[in-house]
Symmetry: C2
Subunit: 605 residues, 2 copies
């Protein structure tokens, strides 16, 4: 009995649906149904648009909106994340397959399926290994710089549909410039006009329609969902006008054309070993970027309702969703930001909403695709441009510039390199920059000479607080673990300190911020003991943490330290070395101890 | 007057000889003369041997022993470092030039000169930029693994001379195996016998001769220098025997052959741009490895006599010495370990000893090279093998294995990859491993739940000390600065802690070990505030350092933290939140506060 319960718990851990579906509350149903329907209405045009952005036929995006959310509903830990094709992942697909096959060719489509399979496997492996932490190395500024740059690249890539002129696919968006200039003469004014009107309509429905409808007396519960129908209404209107006026024939307006009818084909992606090797980097990138994006959306939504998201389970959920895409003719998927927000604010309570959405998309694929024949590509471009322009992040650059220049540098480098050298290079450059800046910072740790605060047991930086020091003791706190890259920096600081204060007889190294001392640093400290001994100075350590002390006991270091000691607290060290608080000093009327005021406090540093 | 004195001080800073030569003490002269002579006696055969190891004619090593130590004497900050060709740098030269030209060809020699020029320029640039810290990234374990592997590669490379059979130059020493097996039939027994006898003689003179001589009644001051003549005596004996018995003709013993007579040619290394590009990596490696090796020797020797070595000035000194080599027909140089120790223990007091050594080598080049015609190569191989076998470090692997497994891993990876994939790949792999392990460690910081020690103001880990805690407060100390890679780890720890202790109302994050909070971590903390607020828990910070507080004040973070507070000390935080020390609690007879004994102390972690 017990073991069957624990088996059930284990299963529910890996398949969260087993936990929530049996306890499904009837009152959640209406919200889930409404949210599922509205998300489907938003998703149909978006899915086709993102598919074209990825260089794939429009139906592939629809296929990727059926099986993946169904599978995610079984394995995902977020209640409201809406999974499917998204703009950034589509851009990554286009960027990674562009050199492998011609967009639109069967080889290109096959490679996209393989990419979904590999992305799924990578996510799944990371999830089973509980290794979601690798995504931590994509810092927020790097993600912000990347997302903004990707949004700009996506907008540039849509100009060809909006203007009705051919433009090359370019890694470096600057290279689009000349083609744009030479193509200006060939602009299709109908495409451009229709596109601009579409953009204006979408922006209106997104920003103002809700308020206008409410002002007309509609209840908010009806007005808000209606604004989400903007893209679908636009698609229906534009398709109707194009068909009626035969714009494709008369003014050569590019249209979507024939979309196959019927449910997605179930099949196995190609398994060519060279293709696996070629796509490995791209799959890893899509997996990590998609994971980070999905988890951040899922967390934001979960925290609003005090729910929890398990990042490692998200890896499993997203991994299975991508496998679902790969085996049902879909491109790589992840959790979409705007779509999830729509789903959430339309009242989704559980992943049942996603199941409803998938059902509607399946119906659309079976019955509605013939109606999209006359849909102008410029309208899909407009939908993409409006959707991704929300991804351009101007807030984060402003904020990190004020807060932390190193973060600002990582953001700027990612942004610029993504735009000029391509996505993969840009992300790698961003991650390496953030790591290098971190290493640089830890290699020059903050070191403070400290003194006693009044008669307390507290010791603070002599440069920032009015503290009491003794000339024969140099008490120094180093604010970083000691390792090979910063050990020489500390050594130089201490040697310079002792050289500048000839009366110093004891150096107390306060180790409260040290979590470990690596082998190089230990050797360095041993050298320091010898060098100090030469000048009649003794090194002591204070506030060494338990785990560090344990490790030191395994080496001859403490024997070499003698007569220097290991003190539990700085207070204890200072008292033992003849530097108690000023009150005690006054009582003992000792002469050579001085209270250092803030202003004239820093002999060193 | 003042400005001329300060000019003089600046000059003396860049040319330490201006500081020590005017104050040269007469009593230092005898030591310098003796040490200079003995080092020269050791150096003549070593210089030729290392030159052959580098794939260069023997005289190149002698040239590299004249100008470079003279130049170093002007610019170097170490009093006793002996600069010249060394085994590891010679191996690096051979490894980097092997693919560029045939050893022994004029192109090969020209490339070696260019390598010395580039090494010198790199060192000089680093020195002028005071950027010696870059060498810190070569940690001690990586250097140890590299040096041991290099010594083994050098020994393997000498087998062809020792056995008298042809062996291929191989990046991967395992590849030498088959050639060795097939060549076994062609071993020259005279070469092998002479080589083994030479090794035995060298080991004897190094380890036992001194003791035997002293036992025979010689004073130590005479006996010790005599043992250093071992290599030269061996060279003279072996050359004489080879000439007398015509071993080169009768048993085809390989001999050194003709060495040009006369001082080194003064000239400019070739300046072909492609060659510069090709050699850039190798030059950087030689510069860094040579610098690290030289500085460690120089520091060890300086600390014995309470002198100081300035690493940045060492870069200048070694850089100028390499330029000296490049323009006088020499290969790259650095400070040699055994040679410097010999120089030091023979009584060298200043760089005058190096000037004496250079003078003797110059005399040898002018007058003695004809005498080396019949010197057997197997004897030089024996000298190299005995010299470098001292570089195989078995102590460091043993020590780091016990002390720190991450250091042991860096060492092992460097060692194995150098041997199997080559030197450059090996060092890069070692550096990357040590950096990756460091990042891994900081991405999973040590986090401790803490409690009050008795009635003191000290707070310690509940798992290691008998401390006093209150159930409604979770006080947590994180032992690492917060940055993108570890912020999620902390978040998970705190959320799990609060979830497991439903009675917790306040979380106090003790920031004594935090030197900064980057933008990603700040966002994470803001999320945490919201998530805690959802469960009725308030986050507080304590012991935030001055610079971190300053930065937080530039953001809206502290406004978002409210009603959570920033406390100066943990004591203050605990008192304000209703958890004073046990004595106070007893007085107040409060019921819900408990003193946690060590054994049953850890609700979390």
């Amino acid at each position: 009995m017990k073991s069957s319960a624990s088996l059930q718990a284990t299963l529910a851990q890996w398949m969260p649906i087993l936990a929530w579906l049996p306890r499904y509350r009837r009152e959640d149903l209406s919200g889930d149904l409404l949210a599922g329907t509205i998300t489907a209405i938003l998703l149909v045009p978006q899915a086709m648009a993102y598919s074209l952005l990825a260089g794939l036929p429009p139906e592939v995006g629809l296929y990727a909106s059926i099986a993946p959310p169904l599978v995610y509903a079984l394995f995902g830990s977020s209640r409201t994340l809406a999974v499917g094709p998204v703009a950034v992942a589509s851009l990554l697909v286009a960027a990674s397959l562009g050199d492998i096959a011609a967009p639109g060719s069967p080889e290109y489509y096959a490679a996209a399926l393989l990419l979904a399979l590999m992305t799924g496997l990578i996510l799944l492996i990371l999830g089973v290994a509980r290794a979601g932490f690798v995504a931590n190395f994509l810092s927020h500024p790097v993600m912000s710089g990347f997302t903004s740059a990707a949004a700009i690249m996506i907008i540039v890539s849509q100009l060809k549909h909006l203007l009705g002129i051919p433009l090359p696919r370019a890694e470096n968006i600057l290279h689009v410039g000349p083609a744009l200039l030479t193509g200006l003469g060939g602009i299709n004014p109908v495409a451009l006009g229709l596109g601009l009107v579409s953009i204006a309509g979408l922006v209106y429905s997104r920003k103002y329609l809700g308020a206008h409808l409410r002002r007309l007396g509609l209840p908010a519960a009806l007005a808000d969902p209606l604004t989400k129908t903007g893209p679908l209404v636009l698609v229906i209107l534009a398709t109707g006008v194009t068909w009626l006026l035969a714009l494709d024939q008369r003014v050569a307006l590019n249209i979507v054309g024939g979309i196959p009818t019927g449910l997605p084909p179930i099949g196995i992606p190609p398994l060519s070993p060279e293709l696996w090797r070629e796509l490995a980097g791209a799959a890893l990138l899509i997996a990590l970027v998609g994971f980070v994006e999905s988890v951040s959306v899922a967390k934001v939504l979960a925290s609003k309702r005090r729910q929890k998201v398990d990042p490692d389970q998200e890896l499993v959920g997203l991994g299975m969703a991508n496998l679902g895409a790969a085996f049902s003719g879909g491109s790589p998927v992840c959790g979409g930001f705007s779509r999830s927000v729509v789903n959430y604010s339309a009242g989704a309570n559980t992943q049942l909403a996603a199941i409803v959405t998938a059902g509607f998309i399946a119906l659309a694929v079976v019955f509605l695709t013939p109606f999209f024949y006359y849909l102008p590509q410029t309208v899909l471009a407009a939908i993409i441009i409006v959707a991704v322009s929300a991804l351009i992040d101007t807030e984060m650059p402003r904020r990190v510039w004020h807060y932390n220049k190193a973060d600002a540098a990582s953001l700027a480098i990612t942004f610029v390199v993504v735009l000029t050298e391509g996505i993969e290079t840009g992300i790698v450059a961003g991650v390496l920059t953030s790591l290098a800046l971190y290493l640089w910072r830890t290699s020059r740790p903050h070191i403070a000479v400290v003194g006693r605060v009044g008669d307390s047991e507290h010791f603070r930086n002599v440069e920032r607080h009015p503290v009491h020091t003794c000339p024969h003791i140099l008490a120094v706190r180093v604010d970083e673990s000691l390792y090979f890259a910063n050990t020489r920096f500390l050594e130089n600081f201490l040697l310079a300190g002792v050289a500048e204060q000839p009366e110093v007889r004891h150096v107390v190294l306060i180790c409260s911020a040290l979590n470990y001392i690596d082998a190089s640093a230990l050797e360095s400290l041993e050298n320091l003991i010898l060098e100090f001994r030469g000048s009649g100075v003794t090194l002591h350590l204070a506030e060494v943490k338990g785990p560090v002390t344990d490790k030191l006991h395994r080496t001859p270091f403490l024997a070499h330290l003698a007569p220097g000691k290991l003190f539990l607290s700085t207070d204890e060290a200072m008292a033992a070395l003849g530097c108690p608080g000023p009150a005690l000093v006054d009582r003992e009327a000792s002469g050579d101890i001085s209270t250092t005021p803030v202003s004239a406090s820093a002999p060193i540093l």
